[in-house]
Structure formats: structure tokens, C-alpha cells
């Protein structure tokens, strides 16, 4: 029973993808959405079922990860083989729940949000494809399977970002997202090769056993003084960083907001972008035994990204971009928390917890943003303001979400962030302070957003009558559900279920520790309120105060330009162009040259055929004489 359920969970979305993709408009018309949603609903229920009866049975105190099914997909000659399987363990169950839940919400939301789109069915088909790939990713039983679905989520994200395919910006964003992550995946792929060659298996459990056991862990195949294991893990982390938009590979995520807002909510806030975190978590046991260098790489990258993104977020004016950067920053939290390896593995639990809560409230934020954008037909802050009366529901849930992300008790964000900070405090103070700063910034920019959307200046209807409704129930109901989630999610005794070693893990919160973060968060909120509650010139002044730093932050510290310079300058002009030139002018010329040389020779000797009988005779005679004399000199002898 269990097995079929687990297979069905990803298969149902796939089914809806195939149905809608092939059937298209002709068969379903605008029923397409319903088909997909129903499929999604079923698989959500199944996922809940799976999660429940996984967490349900406390046969022993530790949750064991079990391979539910596993069949060979492709052999390699050398005993390696790629299986297709399902591995069920705490984080899998967690992710199954999260993905199906958010996806369901987005499906329902889109029923109204995407109504009347030309390629409505395609939209849902792609959603199905994405959900399938994401679910496949989380249940993967081996490294290669995860890579396969990794690529698939990449491509479905490409398709969804480029959904409005006639917008050039959408095209550019889609390409950017795919290529950047692809670049990261190169690392992932080589990492897989390294690890598999090292461990002679791809299967996770076997991988753990083999690599943690002594004879493999010994620096076999060390290269440049670093053990193959660390190489592999570092490279895999590169892939994870790409998918999870860690600095400096984060550049694709803000642009990805070109996609439809629900898509941003699903893919670029809740699920796909945390795949990197999931991957690292999946390989956590290996990372925990890897060189310290790898661990500190992860933590420092995570922490830096958190601060960096938060700073940029404070300066952006496009609300979706603000949210995007906040996503980056939050994922930074998860990442560094994973990176800080302590013997109690608190970081693992904390990170997963934050992933869980963040998924909910960030999805909520994005969907709410979607409603707002539909309402004012713009992404820009200055077109908004004073919407609190116009759209009460949205206002409420948005506020909840902001509080949650700012880490104000008792909302979801608070608990998870607390754990992360606690872990940082215990093990790595410098990172702790960075994180503290970041949560302050987070509170600031989120409420900057909140105030300038809902208060700031009174809302004047520069648009004409229609859509004065806040939004249809299909939009609002998901918001409410998520809002409830935002409030409650924090109270889940998360540590009981999810922990690095599967054993229940009790976190003890002490209030005086959480004073600092909450305090700094409140500080940030007050600052935001002071600056943005009423329309004023304070922001400009402050910005001017920061001067060049502000400018840099506004331009995202020019990372995009640097990358652009790299691709255009190096890849195209320094490698591509010369290669093409070489091919056209050198190799081709060689070929042409032989041809023309032959022609030239032909022209050269044409005088031989002079048409004069006597000259022919002369050639005849000379021919004979030469041959004879040559003979005399070579053979003739004696």
C-alpha cells in the first residue's frame, strides 16, 4: 500500500503534465486547471498519509531511513548502476509534505490568478512537470537520481520563468536561470563522478557506509593534497549553491521573478531553491566527516550570502525582487546553519525547521504580492501605498508573514531562526553576529515593504474601475490557509521528528538568549515605521547618507555586470570568436589550399602539351635518355 502511494505521489503530477501537454486546449479547455489541481490534491493527501505513518510508528526511538522501492534504470559497465528508487526518511517526508502542500496552494491560487491566460493548460502542465520533478528529487534514493531530477526541476523552472515567452526579459531571465544553474551542475556532476569512483556506488545508504568506513575515507585519490571525498563534496556543494542561489551564483534568482507570481511562490521561494539545502542535508553525514575546510566553506558562503542579500533587499523597489533577495538571504541562513557542524547536530534540525517555516511564509508573501500586483498592475513600490483598507485580507496575512520572517514570537519564523542563531552562538560567534545583523536588516526591509505597500501614502485609483475586488476566493483561501500555517507552524515540535541522526532532538529555548534577536528585529521594524509609515523624504536622505554604498547596493553590487563581462568578454570574445575564426580561416584554408595548389600545378605543367609534334618527339627522346641514365646509375652497376 505504502509503496504504491509513494510512487503515486510524483506520478500524479506527471500524469497531469502528460494529459495536459498532449491533450492541450482542445480536450480540456479551461478545465485543465481543475484536472491538475485534483491530481495535486490527491498526491497531497497521499503525501500527508506517508508522512504520518512514517512519523507515526515509533517502533524504536530512532527514525530509520528505508528504501521503499528500487529498480535499475541504467547499468554502467563497471558495476555502477543508476537506480530509480524512493528513500523515505524524516527529511524526505518533510519535503514531501512541504512540496505537495505549497504546490497545492499554488494550483488553487492559479485557478483564479492565471484565468484567461492563452496557454492556461500549458501553465498547469508545466506546474505538473515541476512538481513531479521536485518530488522525484526529494525521494531520490541515490546521487544520480537526484542529479536527474535536479536537471528536470531546472528545466521546468526554465519553462515557467519563460512562460510569458513573448517578453524578451522573460526569455533572458529563463536563459540566465538555466545556464547559471547548469554551470553549477557541472560541479555537481564532477562531484558525483568523484564520489562514485571513490565509493563504487551511487546509492545514498551504501555511499554513507562506504565513505565513512576507514579504507575509503583514507585520502585515496587525493588531488592537490585534498582528499577525493572533500573534492567531491565541495563540488557537490557548488551544485547546491547554484540551485539555492548562494553568492556568487545568486544572480539568476531575482531575474527569475519574470515568471508568473505563483510560480515564483512555488519554485523560487518555497521548493526548488531549497533543493540545494536539501542536497546538503541529504549528504549531511558525509559533510560532517569531511575536512573542516568544506564545512566552513558552506557556513561562510551561507552567512555572507545572508548579509549580502539582505543589504541589497533594503534598496530594491520592485516588491518581487525584494522578496527574492529576502529568499536568498533566508536560504543563506539555512545553508550556514547546515555548515556549522556541532556534535549535537542542532544546525541540521534548525536548518530543516527554517526550511519548513520559510517555505510557508515566503509562499504566502509571494502569493500576497501577486494579489497586490494584480490590484495595482505594477511591481513598483511607489505605485502602491495605502492599500490596507482596500485589501484587508491580504493586509492581514502579509503582516503575519512579515512578523514571521522578522522573527517576532510567536510566529513561525521566530522558532526556527532562534535555533539557527543558538547553534551559531554555540559554535561560531562571528557568524552569529552576522546573522544577528541580518535578522535586523530582514525586519527592516520587510517592514519597509509592508509600510510602503499598505500605509505610506493614501491610495489614489489611477486605474479605471475594474478589479476593485481584492481578489477571488480562489486567491484568498490559499492566503488564509498559509496565514494560519504561518501562525501555527512554529509550534510543531520539529526536533522530535527531524534530526541528523534520526533520534528525537530536544531544543531548549531560554528566553534571555532570544532577547537580542527579537530586540534587534523590533529595532528594524521601528526604523522602517519611522521612515516609511508616512510619506516623507527621510528615505532619500538616509540613502544619500549612505552615499556610494547605497548606490552599489541598489545596483546589486554589480555582480550581474561582472558575470556578464565574464561571459561576453571571456567565453564569447576570447574563446568562442577565436575558435570560430580558427575554423573558418585556418583549417578551412588548409583544405582550400590543397585544392588551389592542385589547380595551380595543373596550370603550371600545361605547357608540356604544346601541340608541336617535334616537341613531343623531344620529350620522347629525353624521356628515354633520362630513364636509361637513371638505370645506369641505380641498377646498371658494374
Amino acid at each position: 500500500m505504502n509503496t504504491t502511494n509513494i510512487i503515486l505521489i510524483p506520478l500524479l503530477p506527471l500524469l497531469s503534465f502528460i494529459l495536459l501537454g498532449l491533450g492541450g486546449k482542445r480536450l480540456f479547455g479551461d478545465k485543465a486547471g481543475w484536472i491538475a489541481t485534483v491530481a495535486m490534491l490527491i498526491s497531497f493527501i497521499l503525501a500527508c498519509g506517508v508522512a504520518m505513518n512514517y512519523f507515526g510508528d515509533h517502533s524504536d526511538d530512532a527514525y530509520v531511513s528505508k528504501i521503499v522501492f528500487n529498480f535499475p534504470w541504467l547499468h554502467f559497465g563497471n558495476g555502477l548502476q543508476i537506480n530509480m528508487g524512493a528513500l523515505i526518511d524524516p527529511i524526505t517526508s518533510l519535503m514531501l509534505f512541504v512540496v505537495t502542500f505549497i504546490s497545492l496552494m499554488v494550483h488553487i491560487f492559479s485557478l483564479a490568478y492565471m484565468k484567461g491566460e492563452d496557454r492556461f493548460h500549458i501553465y498547469y502542465a508545466f506546474l505538473g512537470l515541476f512538481t513531479f520533478s521536485m518530488l522525484g528529487l526529494v525521494i531520490s534514493s541515490n546521487l544520480f537520481q537526484i542529479y536527474i531530477f535536479w536537471e528536470l526541476v531546472g528545466v521546468s523552472s526554465f519553462l515557467l520563468i519563460g512562460f510569458y515567452y513573448q517578453k524578451t526579459t522573460a526569455l533572458a531571465a529563463a536563459k540566465k536561470a538555466f545556464i547559471v544553474t547548469r554551470f553549477a551542475d557541472l560541479g555537481f556532476l564532477i562531484g558525483i563522478l568523484v564520489l562514485s569512483a571513490q565509493a563504487h556506488t551511487l546509492d545514498f545508504q551504501q555511499l554513507m557506509i562506504n565513505l565513512t568506513s576507514t579504507e575509503y575515507a583514507s585520502a585515496a585519490g587525493a588531488f592537490m593534497g585534498i582528499s577525493a571525498l572533500s573534492w567531491g563534496l565541495a563540488l557537490v556543494f557548488m551544485g547546491a549553491a547554484g540551485k539555492s542561489a548562494m553568492f556568487p551564483l545568486h544572480i539568476w534568482l531575482p531575474d527569475a521573478m519574470e515568471g508568473p507570481t505563483p510560480v515564483s511562490a512555488l519554485i523560487h521561494a518555497a521548493t526548488m531553491v531549497v533543493a540545494g539545502v536539501f542536497l546538503v542535508a541529504r549528504l549531511y553525514p558525509l559533510y560532517s566527516i569531511a575536512d573542516v575546510g568544506v564545512q566552513s566553506l558552506i557556513s561562510s558562503v551561507g552567512a555572507f550570502t545572508a548579509v549580502f542579500a539582505a543589504v541589497i533587499a533594503c534598496t530594491q523597489t520592485d516588491i518581487k525582487r525584494v522578496l527574492a533577495y529576502s529568499t536568498v538571504s533566508q536560504i543563506g541562513f539555512m545553508m550556514f546553519s547546515l555548515g556549522i557542524m556541532s556534535e549535537d547536530h542542532l544546525g541540521f534540525t534548525a536548518s530543516m525547521f527554517h526550511l519548513f517555516t520559510h517555505a510557508i511564509f515566503k509562499a504566502l508573501l509571494f502569493l500576497a504580492a501577486g494579489v497586490i500586483i494584480h490590484y495595482v498592475h505594477s511591481n513598483e513600490m511607489q505605485d502602491m501605498g495605502g492599500l490596507s483598507k482596500k485589501m484587508p485580507v491580504t493586509h492581514l496575512v502579509f503582516l503575519l508573514a512579515c512578523l514571521a520572517i522578522a522573527g517576532i514570537p510567536p510566529f513561525a519564523g521566530f522558532f526556527s531562526k532562534e535555533e539557527i542563531l543558538l547553534n551559531a552562538w554555540n559554535n561560531n560567534r562571528s557568524i552569529f553576529f552576522m546573522a544577528l545583523l541580518t535578522s535586523g536588516l530582514t525586519a527592516f526591509y520587510m517592514f519597509r515593504l509592508y509600510f510602503s505597500i499598505f500605509w505610506n501614502k493614501p491610495h489614489h485609483d489611477h486605474d479605471h474601475g475594474h478589479s476593485k475586488k481584492e481578489g477571488s476566493w480562489f486567491e484568498l483561501v490559499p492566503l488564509m490557509i498559509l496565514g494560519v500555517g504561518t501562525v501555527l507552524a512554529g509550534f510543531v515540535p520539529f526536533g522530535e521528528y527531524v534530526s541528523a541522526d534520526g533520534k528525537p532532538h530536544h531544543v531548549n529555548m531560554d528566553l534571555q538568549f532570544s532577547l537580542a534577536p527579537v530586540g534587534i528585529a523590533l529595532l528594524g521594524i521601528l526604523l522602517a515605521a519611522w521612515m516609511y509609515f508616512k510619506e516623507s523624504t527621510k528615505p532619500e536622505k538616509t540613502a544619500a547618507g549612505f552615499g556610494v554604498f547605497y548606490k552599489a547596493a541598489k545596483h546589486k553590487f554589480y555582480i550581474d555586470e561582472i558575470w556578464l563581462g565574464f561571459t561576453k568578454g571571456v567565453l564569447f570574445n576570447l574563446i568562442g570568436r577565436p575558435a570560430a575564426w580558427f575554423d573558418k580561416n585556418v583549417i578551412d584554408t588548409l583544405v582550400k589550399g590543397t585544392g588551389s595548389a592542385t589547380q595551380g600545378a595543373a596550370e603550371g605543367i600545361k605547357g608540356m602539351q604544346s601541340g608541336k609534334v617535334q616537341q613531343y618527339g623531344l620529350y620522347f627522346l629525353f624521356g628515354i635518355i633520362i630513364i636509361v641514365s637513371v638505370f645506369l646509375f641505380t641498377q646498371g652497376g658494374r
Partner: protein
């Protein structure tokens, strides 16, 4: 070398005539004179044959017969050649070899 005429003298005469003929063939520009040179060549060969036959292989008659047949062939060749030359003269109004150089390269 001894002055007593022997095989070698004949061979020398033959060779000299042969190459004189070739020289003529290569240099004369009148077709008929070229033909004459060819006759010279053939005659020189005849001398060789007879000489060899006489001085080296008197037993058989091969050389002599060869000579006879060469003479016959020479006649035939000359006849055909002259016919062709006359025809050429009709079409080109000259028997100078340079008039017949239309086809080249």
C-alpha cells in the same frame, strides 16, 4: 681500334645514322623532310640487323628477314604518311608542321 672493318664499325654507322635521322625528325619543319628522317632511322636499324646477323649469328636468317619486313613496313608507312600529308596540304595549304598546331594544352 683496328681499322679492319668489323661489326663495331657497322654499329657505329648505324647509330650515327639513327641519331642523324632523329635530329632531322626533331628539327626539320617540313613534313616530308621529317618523313625522310624517319626513313633514315629505319635504314640505320636495318644496318644493325644485317651486321648482327652477319657477324654474330650467321647461323640463322632472322636479321635478314627482319630487315626485309622492315623495308616493307617502311614502304607502307611512307605511303600512308604521304597520303596524310597530302590531305593535310589540301586542308591547310601547307606542309609546314607548324600549321598543324590547333590542338594543344
Amino acid at each position: 681500334m683496328n681499322v679492319e672493318p668489323g661489326l663495331f664499325h657497322f654499329l657505329v654507322i648505324g647509330a650515327v645514322l639513327f641519331f642523324i635521322g632523329i635530329y632531322g625528325f626533331l628539327t626539320r619543319r617540313n613534313l616530308i623532310t621529317m618523313l625522310m628522317s624517319v626513313e633514315l632511322i629505319l635504314n640505320s636499324v636495318n644496318i644493325n640487323f644485317i651486321a648482327f646477323n652477319k657477324y654474330l649469328w650467321p647461323g640463322t636468317l632472322d636479321g635478314a628477314f627482319f630487315t626485309v619486313f622492315i623495308i616493307a613496313i617502311a614502304a607502307a608507312e611512307a605511303a600512308v604518311a604521304i597520303a596524310i600529308i597530302i590531305n593535310l596540304f589540301r586542308s591547310h595549304q601547307s606542309i609546314n608542321v607548324e600549321v598543324a598546331e590547333e590542338m594543344k594544352y
